[in-house]
Symmetry: D2
Subunit: 258 residues, 4 copies
């Protein structure tokens, strides 16, 4: 079996500058996630960061990536537009995308959604309870009907995204909000999963339920569809599949002229 | 009753250069559509074109527009990016958008969808039959279970768009293709309707069924929702709605450290 | 303008036997709702109850009803199956349906959904906060980004319904749950809105936000679609719309016989 | 690896009485489909028919079935209601369902959909061309952008079903119709795929593209979700997850009494 090639991308700034973030993620959020993913026999995860050459995502790396996970926060604007173009192209060609937490406001997620992707938020160390709302979905496999995060950053509705194709999780917050925290989208040949838990100053990516969901998500966003449509995107089909009756269209009557 | 303010935007190039297009639409596609819309007591439609000052859509005009209809084809690239930014912003604030025919590849539609919006196509004067697939939808009101266009440009699947929230029409083509020809999307506070019939060298906008659909669509995309969420987009909610228990989150146990 | 004919159906048992329910709704939940709806110039609402002749919904009444609202709880099983058949038929023909609170487990809602429509619940006089999650939707018009109900019966996920076509509201509960509290479905020519707030021992239907939503919902579920498809449901189309090539299909080669 | 247990159910009447059906499917449609599925290393398919004891689906058989495929046509009414009840219950518990062709009007499909599931139809040995409309979906894997069936029974819109969660295929017919021919639905813990090609007097189930789709569909409808929510369906949660403030709800003010 060929392994799923995952590139775990991280802005990787907070973990250098913020003592709490560094405490929970000494080698970066991406390193922890990749380490966990690599425990799975069918996954081969590498890491990439904003300050790497070519912002971590050279054309070659992207070409080799089946699934890209994205964590960014303070430096969304530093991601180059031409890189966003390349990532978008790869997703539409079938690369899976998993967008994590504050990645909701990344250039690539906003590009794929077409909306502001804005939300209400509060950083108050409050409890989040994540509820399963689509139990038939593989991304929900193996977790409880709900699970709790003792400390979370609140992300609340209205969350400005298109209606997801599948709404897998909805979160409850101690401070009074709800949030569509696990959202699936089909875009081109690609699949996208947005998952909101994961603030840098909380140990959320150490949580086993969260980790199971990330593993499930990698498998779900991995392309398993139909690549044969790709060469026909934008194609002019000069020879019709069926015979078209000849007619003098220039003299076609206008049914209801003004 | 306050009328719905529609701006019918048109690239307005083919009707000047192509004799057939000019024959069917001597004052432009936009002029014909606006004239038809203005027959309705609740609609007040104006026109705008690419070669007008500010490409027809000054901030003032956009601000005054409840519903924008968009026809473009050969000059998509000439539309300025800053104008696309402004239109996107207005849609997300609640302006309705109706995208017509070759507008599928306009910058604004691609921006809103996040996909290539490419499709297969053929210009062979072939018959198109438009089928109603969601009869509960107001946009389908007043038309037959299907209607025919004697000459149409073929637009065929795979059409690279997100799954519509509501699929109102699907078209059959003489040459062998099918197409999702009437698609509804919610984006931010705005509503979007894509309608594929309408090539410039065919008298499609003279067709009464097509005209009924455009009238219905104007009424449907007109904002009638909830504007109160707007000020909260991106808002930090410092004072929680509910009391949040105090805890020493720095010492929060890591459930499952690596 | 012809008014929208609404029939507000109620089981109408609790308000006779439970002193609290009677206190809030002395003439029944249905009477209060109908009274409120009748304040609107475009609505004409009547009432009907389980213990009325023909369980309140004779064929004549159903035939005259544009929109049916349904409140039931303790006596779901008493509703006759043949009545459920008639209501289902009317919905698929275009009658709008609004299902309220414990009506989630009514025969008619389960019939329309195909699922158990079960949920988690708790009656503990707890706070519910209803959040708008689709601000472009007319049912959300005129209410705040969220509104609160001081005392509510908790309805929590997983709620066993098909994914709604449009998810307008999601609720937060003091006791820790979330719930998809405002759900839109297209079924046949009909539209269905499920709205969960509304327990009989709380004055929820006196709340102005709730009342606005009910008014909005009546207007939204009212049929404004395409009735012309109805005669073609199940129709055999002997004469094809297009010429079908003659062929000896009996001798058609089997492409890949086993 | 544990194999996916499939039960291929067939009405199995036409293949006994109709010489053409018998010619293409001498042992029945179900036997051919099961034989093909059993070529896959991860699938273990058995067969069942209407005239078998307990109509082929005893509680024990159903309990052992991961995926049920359903072909019926002339004898829908003979399927016992109590069997339909059992099948529905199993689907909602996670059994996958694949409904084939004329199974659109089976009791179980109508039960799961809540609509009439009626459509327009014509039996005229006409060409059908099946187009992929959601290339990211695993059910579309391995087939071409479209494929053709030389002879098919026409099934045309309006097809009275709820909007599918995912629309994988749309068909073109020689005689002028279109049809949503490959439709995915989530219902409870179960997944449902409806696939329309497959009339009994055409060798459609011998077609390799059709066979690939059936194999893909078996894998997709197989439950891989979250069974943990099941015990909570309908559960009363007496002890809240969070503390609920005490209040005298009987004296709660009515905000806006009539």
């Amino acid at each position: 079996m060929e392994k799923i090639k995952v590139t775990v991308w991280n802005e990787f700034r907070h973990e250098k500058s913020n003592v709490t973030a560094k405490g929970f993620y000494p080698s970066g959020i991406h390193a922890l996630i990749a380490e966990r993913l690599n425990q799975e026999p069918d996954i081969n995860a590498g890491i990439a960061a904003l300050d790497d050459p070519e912002q971590g995502l050279s054309p070659e790396v992207l070409e080799q990536t089946d699934v890209l996970t994205w964590w960014g926060h303070a430096a969304h604007d530093e991601v180059e537009d031409k890189l966003v173009d390349r990532i978008q192209k790869r997703i539409l060609e079938g690369m899976g995308l998993i967008v994590l937490h504050s990645g909701h406001y990344s250039k690539i997620f906003r590009r794929m959604m077409g909306t502001t992707c804005l939300l209400r938020w509060r950083e108050a160390h409050e409890k989040e309870r994540v509820w399963v709302t689509l139990p038939s979905h593989p991304i929900a496999a193996g977790v409880s009907p709900y699970f709790e995060l003792a400390n979370s950053e609140m992300y609340g509705e209205y969350f400005d995204i298109p209606q997801p194709d599948e709404q897998v999780f909805i979160s409850w917050y101690e401070g009074g909000e709800v949030f569509r925290s696990g959202c699936c989208f089909n875009r081109g040949l690609g699949k996208i999963f947005y998952f909101s838990p994961g603030h840098e100053v909380y140990p959320i990516y150490h949580n086993q339920e969260v980790q199971k969901i990330l593993v499930n998500a990698v498998r779900w966003v991995k392309f398993r569809g139909n690549g044969s449509v790709f060469p026909f995107l934008g194609a002019q089909i000069k020879i019709p599949l069926e015979t078209i009756a000849e007619k003098n269209y220039h003299s076609a009557p206008i049914d209801h002229p003004n």
